[in-house]
Structure formats: structure tokens, C-alpha cells
């Protein structure tokens, strides 16, 4: 009885302390949200106290780790001021020189709020200066520094800092920069640890995945993460503890999961995040309300949504970038007759898709430091008249500008209309993170360019990736979410487009649809202009590599003009139907080899006979 009372007391203290710290830091940001959160936590604490004593399934009580020795802290300071201070700031408040142009902002260490943990919701993460092996499940912060946080600017430090240096800098951060809490204070801190090492994962059977699909509806996961899990359920109203906009994870891009630990298709990472919640964000822990078995079902289902190849296998991940491996060729396959405008049609399903990586346009003003579209998927088919591109990409927000845009569709210099790049140093209030969801809304858009007269450009010359140049012009097709599909000629990054009305009659928008956080746009264009003339338009010749660049705009990110996402050079190629010679010649060669063998063996046999005789 005494023991239970004691536990209850401890838990009570913990909840009160948590409430205090949350209130304190939220009052700093926005008093109203702070008060609301406080009330929420108070009501939650009542429920929590009712449960006192029994831990959520899969968790066990742990001991606080010992304090790191002073010399490690001192050594860590040197690491911190060489590598970390530039984003996390002198006081660890997440306000270094780089912070204002980043979203998510660098972590503010002061509150001791860390996202990726094995510990129960609200608790400090595991950190032990003595636990030197990454991925042991016993040292969350070491894992974070080792593997980085994909989808944010935090890189993996493995291979850059030694394990010793990583532990040193963490010793410094946890003792000197975490100010509101203390990792070694037994009075205020507890460790309730998810026993991930000993829990056996449930096999991702069809049954388990089906159950997970139902559970994400029952547990209301889809309210934020969206019906198809593309993170579009509540893209506008979610804020983190510091008052900045935050977006629910897109389950289709597991390589961007912050907690993916450079092992994105590993279901354990999802199980851990779901069990412990993400501190400082609206993502709660589901440990209290969900059995371990159900949690595995949900994790299996979420994992099954991550993009895979045609055979259902995980995509190859490039270890240098931790993103899917890129193939720079977008093949177009021949079909007979009409090309279907239904992506579910057999002819489209048969054709392989290509992952096209998108980065922010950071070359010319206005630069786009935060691009919310970081990849698109492209398929292509062609028939005797047209080539069709099917482009699909995840965009949490469908954006269509209200009313007419103040600039003409051909105008590319739109800085005077308020499309500006983020200033370098603004403080939190003016930062790019604070600007999220506060931009003027323009049209979502997608565009691609080919060289005009590429037949006459000697390889490897190309019109510049950013809308061509004066010497080599670009043939640009641009779709916008207002339903327009326009054909332009590009002559340079700062030169207004030339519109080509006569060609616009020939291009066709076969489909454009935004559904559950995904755009599907299908664009058809003729293989050539009139009379084989290719002075104006790109003429497609079968079997040739034609350079291609993609551009994407997210209207809710304030994207317009050059503020956009852009790809590298890709190549599109109309795959020729396989000619008959390809089957005939190898057969002839094989027969030839048989004759050659026969000749050689006979010759040797004769020679030997001659010797014997």
C-alpha cells in the first residue's frame, strides 16, 4: 500500500511539474494557447492519476542515467561551438544564424523537449554518456545525433564526429543548454522506457495490415494524417509548443520521418513513435489507449503505405542522401491508339514510374529555402501523334488563388507583387517558420521544359535549367491549379515568357485532380509542330534522349514566379518498339558459335589422330 501511495505521489509531482513547465513556455509564446494547453493537461492529469501504478503495455520503469563528468562537458563545449552553434545558437535556444531561414526551426534545447525517444510522453529522452553504441535503444540523443533528423536540416553526424565527440557534445547540451529540466534530478524526472528490444514485432500479414487500416480510423489518426496518410488532414491549424506551424507526417515518404534513423522501412521506428508520441508537437502517445498488438498493426499499416517499387519492394535508398535513389531517365512507352486519361487504366498501370527529386530554387531571387514539394512521380506514354506525361505529387494543401492574380501569366519577375525571399535575420517572429500558413495563397502549379531544336544543339550543351537562355531557348509547358495549361518560350531566368497561343490549341490537359493530399495531372502534347517544323516547338524523335527539367509550385507556400521547387536535368526518351533484328541476330550469332565449336573440336581431334597415327 505504501509503495502504491509513493508511486502515486511521484506521478502526481511529475504531472504538476510538467504542467508548470508547459505553462511557462507557452505563456512566453502565445498566452491563449498556453492556457488552453494547460487546461488540457490538467484534465489529462486527472485521468493519468486514475491509472497510477500500472505502466502502459510494453514499458518498464528505468533509472536516471548518471551525470556526465565535467571534462566531457568541457570537451563537448568545443564540439558545440565548432559544429552546432550555427543553427542552435549560443544559448541553445534554437536561434543561431541559420535558424530564421529554416522550417522546422532548429531545436530549442532550453525546455528539454525532445521529439524522438524511447521514453513515455512528456519525459526526457534517454541519454547516458557511458552508453557508447548507437541504435542500442538505450541512448536516444546519441541516435539522433548519429543519424540526424531526415526532412530537417539536421544531418547525420556519424563519420563526421567520433562517437566520443558525439557523447561529449550531448553531455554539454543536456547539462548546460537544457535549462528548465535536469536529466539527473530524481525529484522531478522519471524514465518509463519502451522495451522495444524485447517486444517481438507482429508480422506484416494481410490481416495485421487490414486491422491497422481500421484502427487508424478508430484512433482518429486520419484527422491529422489524412484519409490516405499524406499528412493533409489538418495542414493549417497545428502548432508546436513554441507556437510554430507544424505539419503531420506524410506516411508515403517514410525517408522523411524524423525518427527513421536512416532505416526508413523499419517498422520499429513507427511503433516507437506511435508508442511514445512526439514531445512538443500535437502527436500524442497512444501507449495508454492501445495494446501492443494493435500498435504493431497500425505500424505495419503505416509502413505499408510508404512508396514502393512495382514489385512491392522498398525503394532503394541512397546512403549518401537518405532519399530514394534517382534514375535520371523518364522513359515513354509506345501504345497503339488513344491514350487513356485514367491513371488506373491498364496501359498506365503497366508503365513504370520515375521518382523525380525536387529542391528549392536557390539560385536567383526570390530564393525558396523551404520547398514543400520535395519530389514528384512521373510516367509517360506516347502514340503516333502525342506524348502524354502523368505527374503525381503529394501536396497537403490544394491552393487556388482567389480572384485574378495581379501579374500576367507570362511574367516571371514577380518580386514587386510581394513574392519575396525570406530575410536572413529576422528573429523568431519574422522567421520562415512563423510565416508558414500566413502567405498570400497563389496557384499550385507544375511545369516542365525541353530544349527547342535540341537536334541542332551539340551534346552535352543544353538550354539552362532555369527556363533556357538567349542562345538556346526552352519549350515550357505550365499547368496551374486554376485549370490553365499554357505553352511558353523561355529565353532566360529573368526574361518574361513568350506565350505561344497557336501551340496551346494543340496541348491538352487530360486530367487534373487534387484528392486526399495528392495532385494528379496528365498533360498531352504533340510529338511535333506542323510540317515537321521545329523552329518553335520541341520535336520528339523516337529513341533519342531529350533533356527535361521539372518545376513545381505550392500555392500555400507563397510559391509564384521563381519561388518554386525545381529538379535537376532529367532525360525523357520515347522507347522504340523492339525491332525484329534484336531477336534474329542473337540467334544467328548462337548458331555461328555452334559451328565454331564444331570446327575447333574436329580440328583438335584430327590433330590428335594425326599424332597417334
Amino acid at each position: 500500500m505504501g509503495l502504491i501511495l509513493n508511486l502515486t505521489n511521484n506521478l502526481g509531482e511529475q504531472v504538476v511539474r510538467l504542467t508548470m513547465s508547459k505553462l511557462r513556455m507557452n505563456v512566453k509564446a502565445t498566452p491563449i494557447i498556453g492556457a488552453a494547453l494547460g487546461a488540457l493537461i490538467l484534465s489529462a492529469s486527472a485521468v493519468g492519476l486514475g491509472h497510477a501504478g500500472d505502466l502502459p503495455e510494453g514499458f518498464a520503469k528505468g533509472e536516471l542515467a548518471p551525470a556526465p563528468p565535467a571534462e566531457m562537458i568541457e570537451a563537448g563545449k568545443r564540439v558545440y561551438f565548432t559544429k552546432c552553434v550555427w543553427c542552435h545558437g549560443v544559448d541553445g535556444a534554437g536561434d543561431g544564424p541559420g535558424a530564421d531561414r529554416l522550417w522546422p526551426r532548429p531545436r530549442n534545447f532550453n525546455q528539454g523537449t525532445f521529439k524522438i525517444r524511447h521514453t513515455a510522453s512528456g519525459e526526457l529522452p534517454l541519454f547516458n554518456y557511458n552508453e557508447k553504441t548507437p541504435d542500442s535503444g538505450k541512448n536516444d540523443l546519441l541516435d539522433t545525433v548519429t543519424h540526424g533528423l531526415p526532412g530537417s536540416a539536421m544531418p547525420p553526424w556519424e563519420g563526421i564526429l567520433t562517437e566520443e565527440q558525439r557523447l561529449q557534445v550531448l553531455s554539454f547540451v543536456t547539462t548546460q543548454l537544457v535549462k528548465d529540466r535536469k536529466f539527473t534530478d530524481k525529484q522531478s524526472e522519471t524514465q518509463t522506457i519502451l522495451q522495444l528490444g524485447t517486444i517481438k514485432p507482429a508480422e506484416p500479414t494481410e490481416e495485421s495490415i487490414k486491422k491497422g487500416a481500421q484502427l487508424i480510423v478508430d484512433k482518429k489518426c486520419i484527422e491529422c494524417h489524412g484519409v490516405e496518410g499524406r499528412g493533409d488532414g489538418n495542414a493549417f491549424n497545428l502548432k508546436d509548443d513554441w507556437g510554430f506551424s507544424i505539419q503531420p507526417a506524410d506516411w508515403h515518404k517514410c525517408w522523411n520521418f524524423r525518427g527513421s534513423r536512416q532505416d526508413p522501412y523499419n517498422v520499429r521506428n513507427i511503433f516507437r513513435t506511435f508508442s511514445t508520441g512526439v514531445n512538443g508537437t500535437p502527436m500524442p502517445s497512444f501507449a495508454d489507449s492501445t495494446s501492443v498488438e494493435d500498435r504493431w498493426s497500425i505500424a505495419n499499416f503505416v509502413n505499408s503505405l510508404c512508396e514502393r517499387d512495382a514489385e512491392g519492394k522498398p525503394l532503394g535508398i541512397d546512403p549518401l542522401t537518405d532519399k530514394p535513389k534517382i534514375n535520371f531517365v523518364v522513359p515513354s512507352a509506345p501504345v497503339e491508339g488513344e491514350i487513356s486519361n485514367d491513371p488506373e487504366n491498364e496501359m498506365w498501370k503497366k508503365q513504370g514510374r520515375r521518382y523525380v527529386a525536387m529542391g528549392g530554387q536557390i539560385t536567383h531571387k526570390p530564393r525558396n529555402f523551404v520547398n514543400r514539394i520535395d519530389d514528384i512521380w512521373v510516367k509517360s506514354l506516347y502514340n503516333e501523334k502525342n506524348v502524354v506525361y502523368l505527374i503525381q505529387w503529394d501536396d497537403r494543401t490544394k491552393s487556388v488563388a482567389e480572384g485574378k492574380l495581379p501579374w500576367a501569366p507570362t511574367q516571371v519577375n514577380v518580386e514587386n507583387f510581394g513574392v519575396k525571399e525570406q530575410a536572413p535575420k529576422t528573429g523568431e517572429e519574422g522567421s520562415i517558420a512563423a510565416a508558414q500558413n500566413n502567405y498570400a495563397v497563389y496557384n499550385d502549379g507544375i511545369a516542365f521544359q525541353f530544349p527547342i531544336k535540341w537536334q541542332e544543339i551539340p551534346a552535352p550543351f543544353k538550354p539552362r535549367y532555369l527556363w533556357g537562355d538567349a542562345k538556346f531557348n526552352a519549350d515550357i509547358l505550365k499547368w496551374e491549379a486554376d485549370g490553365s495549361l499554357r505553352s511558353f518560350k523561355g529565353t532566360g531566368w529573368d526574361q518574361d515568357f513568350e506565350e505561344r497561343d497557336d501551340f496551346e490549341e494543340k496541348v491538352k490537359l487530360l486530367k487534373s485532380e487534387w484528392k486526399n493530399g495528392q495532385w494528379t495531372v496528365m498533360i498531352s502534347r504533340p510529338l511535333k509542330g506542323d510540317k515537321d517544323d521545329y523552329d518553335e516547338y520541341t520535336r520528339f524523335d523516337i529513341g533519342k534522349y531529350i533533356p527535361m527539367v521539372f518545376f513545381a509550385w505550392d500555392g500555400h507556400n507563397g510559391d509564384a514566379g521563381r519561388k518554386m521547387a525545381v529538379s535537376a536535368f532529367y532525360y525523357t526518351i520515347l522507347q522504340p518498339p523492339i525491332p525484329q533484328e534484336v531477336y534474329i541476330y542473337p540467334a544467328i550469332i548462337a548458331v555461328g558459335v555452334v559451328f565454331l565449336e564444331g570446327w575447333m573440336l574436329t580440328r583438335r581431334a584430327n590433330k590428335k589422330k594425326g599424332k597417334v597415327l
Binding site: 561551438f81 563519420g159 539560385t363 520547398n371 552535352p460 550543351f461 532525360y571
Partner: protein
Amino acid sequence: MKALMSVGALIGVLGLLMLIGMIFGVIPSNTVRLVEGYMPMQVLSELAVFVAGFTGLSYLANSMGIAFPRFWQGVLFWAFIQTYLKFRIYPPIPFSVRAMYGTVSFVAVFMWVSANEEDWKKFRQPILNVLDANTGFHKALRTMYLILLPLLIGGFSFLTMKPSVDEPIELRTVHPAPPASTKVHGKTYTLQTSQNPYRVNLEGKYDQAYSNKLIVEQGMGRLMAPNANPWDDKAEGYLKYVREGGEIFFQNCHFCHGDNLNGRGLHAFAFNPIPANFTDPGTIAQLQETFIFWRVSKGGIGLPNEGFPWASVMPPWEQHLTTDEIWKVILFEYWHTGYYPRTWD
């Protein structure tokens, strides 16, 4: 001798097991990490270790009376080099380059097995056996070759003739020859004579020896020298400029060149050519500060054609930064990587 060879054999077996483990994903592929910038030396020494290992193995087998035929030694060693090149090195080497290495190593193996008459006889004996010998085994082998060879050659030529959509290979010059001078913000800089105005000692004089003492230390981790913290309130002159350059770097450049200046920034994965890795000894460590000044100011679009100006997303930084800011960023890049800029003499 025997003990030495046994050690060699042990190394050989361990190395082979490790390579096989990595290929099949049993052992994590980063167990023995290829360190950036040292990769060529590392690959060469690894191969040398393997050769030593194989020598030991073959010696040991010989002395135990289970000699391994010279023919198979040659064939397997060549196959081993191919496997090593294909699976060990990342990013993967294109097939055409591997074919080149394959030819070179084939010639090397051929020279080895034909070094003297006796060896050459030993080597070609199994081949002649397949052609002539009248034992049951060799007859079966002969029949197998008779059927397999046409099939293999036919199949291979089918695969090469089938139209494929491989990525075309284009070779780009990473550090093209610089111009004699460059004009930035209205001022002309002669590359051979210009100096970084912020690489100064406490008296304000250009002093590379002074700044060299304050840069980040070389070696794993590359940490700042003790008592040379640019973030120290009392930091003056060079160190203060380093901090200012770092601030500009982390407001502008890290998006591509990365928080550790290794070319792995937030947007880097999408771009081709990939952003330069300043920690690689082949980039800024090989170049003069004024070369960097020209490259930074004029960006990708200012490159000569062999640098593929149409594909590079490197901004012409004169559009975004003042010349002072550009010099400070360069100062920071050398400080953070711990490299000395090359001088003209």
C-alpha cells in the same frame, strides 16, 4: 615463414567473409567505412591486404597438400576484383569504367599466370583438358560447354541489342581553368594578385601564417583549436570575421553544401551536379582563395562550357552578397574544414 603466411591467410579469409557479408547484407555495409577524401588510397591498400591474404592462403593450402590449380587462382582472382569494384565502392562505378578496370586487371592476371613457361603450362592445362581429354568428366564438361556457350553468347548479345534506357554519361570538369581577372560589383580583381582582405593578423596585415594557427584542427571531427573560439566575446580580427562568414554560410550556403560543408545539405539530393564537398581534399584544399572568389561570385552560370553552366544551380553570389561577405564566407570555409588555401607560388 609459415607463421607469417598463416596470418596472411587469416586476413584473407576474414576479408573475404566480410566482403561476402556486406554483399548479402548480413554485415552492415558501413562496418569498415570508406572515408571521404581518402577513398582511393583506402581501396588500394584494401586490395593489397587481400592480395597478401590470398598469397598466404595459397601458400598454406600448398603446404597442406591441397594445392589450388593455377587456372582457378587466376580466374577467381579476376572475378574477385570485379566483385570488389562492384559492391565495395559507393557511389557505384558505372559499368563502362568497371569494364576498363576489368580489362586492366585481366591483363595483369594474364601476365602473372604466364610469367614463366612452367606457370603458363600449368595455367592452360585445364583449358586443353576440356578440349581434348577423354575422361568421362571432361567429356561431360565438353558437352556442357557446347550447349551453354551458344546460349550465353546469344543471350548476352540479345541483352546488348535490346534498346535500353540507361542514363547517358556526360563528363563534366569540376574545376575549370579560371579567367585572369574577374569583375565583381564594379571592381576588377586580378586572380593572381588579389588577397582575402580578412585574412589578417591583429595588426590588420595580410598574414596567412597567423590564420593558419587558428583554423580548425585536421583529423576526425575537425574541431576548433583550443582557445580559438570565434564565438568568444573577445574574439577579434580574423576569428571575428570567421564568425561573420559562418553566419552568412548558415544563412545562404548550407542548404546545398551542408552543415558540415560536405555537400550534403537539405536540397543537395535533388541536384546534379551535386554540390561541392569542401571537406574533400580535392576541392578547396587544392585551390587558391581567389579562384574560390571567382567561382562564388559568378556561380554556375559563369562557368566555361566544360563546367556545364546550364546544369549547375550554384548561384552567382554577386546577386545576393557583397564582396566583403563573399570574402568572409571563403575565410569561414577554410577555417571550418581546417585546410590552408593554396598560394600562387
